[in-house]
Amino acid sequence: MTTKTAPQTVAAPAAPSSRLSINLRQSGIYVAFALIVVLFAVLTDGALLQPQNISNIIVQNSYVLILAIGMILVIIGGHIDLSVGSTVALTGAICAVLTVQWGLPWPVAVLLTLLSGAIIGAAQGYWIAYFGIPAFIVTLAGMLVFRALTLTTLGNQGIGPFPNEIRSLSNGFTGGYLGNIGLGPLGGADLVSLLAGVACVAGFALSQWRKRAARLGYGQTVDPMPLFVLKLVGVAVVVMAVVVQLARFRNLPWVLVLLAALALGYSLMANNSVFGRHIYSIGGNLQAATLSGVKVKAVTFWVFVNMGALAALAGVIFAGRLNQAGPTAGVAFELDAIAAAFIGGAAVQGGVGKVVGAITGGLIMGVINNGMSLIGAPSERVMLVKGLVLLAAVAYDVWTKRRAS
């Protein structure tokens, strides 16, 4: 063995062809999303991209996207959670009881609801992680049990109406604190929203720039400058386009602010935290992770606790949006969340997946839903298309993997 400690200035470059195909596989989902958006923009004569419609897509899909964030972590860990739809219903009911019937202040009620979601997750996580029952079985049982508890709590009727604060978390918009600004032919737009958008883009660019500089400092290969700039500009254009449209309508939906924070936080957690890395290693090879000293049971347990808490958050938002907690809330939400994760590039065996991918997967389904209803397609056809898209996305993933090996 030659123990050379040469300065690490040159990193081995990957073969160009393999690098391209890796990029294609990772970016396939975003390309597909862009194509679907363009397709429906054309089919709907641009109605898809109207300010109000963009706002609708975000608000209508927010709870599924929140569930998808939790679900992708569960799936990366090599598990599944079928109970989240019922958990949404039960936690919505809990929130309704706390606010409407007990009259607790809304922040306390929301916190208690999130806590109850975490307890639901912990209860399931215990059986999965420490008792060793497959998650499919435990959460299938949970799906029935929590639905039953919802019905017990609510009887056959809904509870409402919710306090305004909870409703505005689901349906509301940021205020026009600084007034409007004219955007020429686009008309007036909210200044705060625009500034928030600019701040986001600037923050993103700055963090990417610093990341690139640090990687260069360590002698790693990075995207060449033109490609790097192109990617930044691409992200900036998309973000600003959405923000401008929203600013022209009714400012930023609160739920979008929440989603952005969750997406950022969970992406960082998955990629850069020890906990997140442990989830990937458990899903990638359980035995190897165990023998590497990863606390497999604890990590699995907390992944389900987290799923429960996020399901509770989705439960609050869904109930707030309908302004009542109903016994049939959240039916089949687990399927949407699971589909979002798999469309977004997760692998059935675990170990693979990205938070941003799951969100994109959820948005793909959201745009299909919205676009098809704009052109007046019946709901059974929407279901058909969503099913085929799920199959196609996973087939593409399997195909690229097979070609790579």
Partner: protein
């Protein structure tokens, strides 16, 4: 011509730009045992896949003549119809099914679509007798050991009226007894007129059983030699293309004080809690020392190592683990790592690596905390650590982000070693560190092990290959039926003496 049952001429096979076989020729005489030797990646398995139709006709160049007729197989079924049966390295048995069901899978003893169980079990019994396997045909395959499963595979081949039997690394996972039995069986089949082609890394077996040896290197036929009087060194010379006089890198041991002592270690089987797997074992390793642990399969070597390392195996464990004079906690993997132990498992794909992640994330997997501040991983540091190991250990990979699953066995093993070296252990337990690795990469692994010892680490090596233990270790313990039956210094250790200890039973 009729003397030759199989002639392959000018076989060339390419995979996406890589030439796996280049103008390879092979001719096998009727009724002989023909061994194919070569390093990993030399093209042995690919050649056999071409022959058996796994790579169908048209995906390769060249011709195959079997029993005087040219062949164009489109799949395994075609080749099996002609009497060519291949038994792959990874056994293809359904563990949940019975022996008899496996024997006639795809070839069921049935009447109008309904299985005739009496005939199935009767015929199965006859086949099992033929291969000398004394098991009930209704036994579930999972309940058999690997050696017996291998015999089931051969019995399955016999049920198809085989005339050419191909075995890919048949004894790789077998202990010496089972290997012995298998080789005797092949001898017997030769007398019945069945021709065998075996691919093997175990050259002592090759020189013992084969009539002819063909050596492949880098996808080319190097030579075909009569096996009579052929030495292992001669075959190795052909395999590596150089005279490998020194299979082991030179080393001057610098041995210090005792680092680790395992005292009165007893472990029971988790499946049968009243069965003792490791019986009151005591052993020690010193600083800078490489200690071997020899034993036949089932002697309890891996069980001993894994039970010490975070109680990853066994129940009813008792005994003490003492490091630097003080007893340490090894009850969890985390505690074992914290106390400076590292365990490189015998099965790197199952227990060692996350094959779908890159080199970088595998190297850091056991010591992520060293790269993290308040729970957040510094990926740049992680990259340079991986890059450092890539250079110092010579891990051949396009980049440290490359998926580990795409690397060769030797390079995968280096990644596992790097992972544990990064935990900065004082004691490394290496379980079969060169299993399934070609000769050249073995040499590199030995160099790494020597380096670890030179750095003052204590190294415990478990190996099934006695020459490896003798070439590498300063001291060797022999383990038999869970008990330490002997301890030999480098000077006094020979294969014969070790084997005596390794086969010493409870009553001697």
């Amino acid at each position: 011509m009729s003397d030759e049952i199989l002639v392959m001429r000018g076989i060339t096979k390419r995979f996406a730009g890589v030439t796996a076989l280049h103008d390879v020729s092979l001719s096998v005489r009727r009724g002989e045992i023909h061994a194919i030797c070569g390093e990993n990646g030399a093209g042995k398995s690919t050649l056999m896949k071409v022959l058996s139709g796994v790579h169908p006709h048209g995906t390769y160049d060249g011709e195959i003549v079997f029993a005087g007729e040219p062949c164009a197989f489109n799949g395994v079924r075609d080749s099996e119809r002609r009497g060519i049966v291949i038994i792959h390295q990874e056994l293809a048995l359904c563990g949940q099914l019975s022996v008899a069901e496996n024997l006639f899978l795809g070839n069921e003893r049935a009447r109008r679509g309904f299985i005739d169980w009496n005939r199935t079990n009767h015929d199965a019994q006859a086949l099992l007798d033929r291969v000398g396997l004394r098991e009930n045909p209704t036994t579930q395959v999972n309940d058999l050991g690997v050696g017996k499963q291998q015999l089931v595979e051969i019995a399955k081949a016999l049920s198809k009226e085989v005339s050419l039997l191909i075995l890919d690394e048949p004894t790789a996972a077998l202990n010496d007894d089972d290997s012995q039995h298998l080789l005797d069986l092949l001898d017997g089949l030769r007398d019945e007129g069945i021709t065998s082609v075996i691919i093997s890394h175990k050259l002592n077996e090759v020189t013992r059983i084969a009539d002819t040896v063909t050596v492949l290197r880098d996808g080319k036929t190097i030579e075909t030699l009569p096996a009579k009087g052929l030495s292992e060194e001669r075959i190795i010379a052909g395999m590596v293309g150089r005279d490998l006089e020194h299979r082991f890198p030179p080393r001057t041991p610098d041995i210090g004080d005792e680092v680790l002592r395992i005292e009165d270690w007893t472990v029971h089987s988790p499946a049968q809690p009243d069965r003792v797997v490791v019986d009151n074992a005591t052993l020690s390793v010193r600083r800078g020392e490489i200690v071997g642990l020899a034993g036949l399969m089932g002697a309890g070597r891996t069980e001993l190592a894994m039970s010490v390392f975070g109680r990853s195996y066994g129940t009813g464990i008792s005994g003490r683990v003492v490091k630097d004079g003080a007893e340490i906690d090894t009850r969890t993997v985390q505690a074992a790592i914290r106390n400076g132990l590292a365990y490189v498992s015998e099965d790197r794909k199952r227990y060692g690596l996350n094959l779908i992640e890159g080199v970088q994330r595998n190297v850091s997997a056991a010591a992520l905390d060293k790269l993290a501040k308040r729970g957040w991983v510094n990926e740049n540091e992680e990259f340079s650590v991986a890059e450092r190991f890539r250079r110092s250990m010579g891990i051949r990979t396009p980049a440290v982000s490359t998926q580990v699953g795409t690397l060769s066995g030797g390079n995968q093993q280096k990644v596992v070693l790097a992972k544990w070296m990064f935990t900065d252990p004082d004691v490394l337990i290496l379980d079969e560190p060169t299993r399934g690795i070609d000769v050249g990469a073995k040499y590199e692994i030995y160099s790494i092990i020597n380096d670890l010892a030179a750095q003052g680490k204590a190294v415990l090596v478990i190996s099934s290959e006695l020459p490896e233990l003798l070439g590498l270790c300063d001291r060797v313990y022999a383990l038999s039926e869970g008990r330490i039956t002997g301890e030999l210094d480098r000077a006094e250790a020979t294969q014969e003496r070790l084997m005596q200890y390794m086969t010493r039973g409870q009553n001697s």
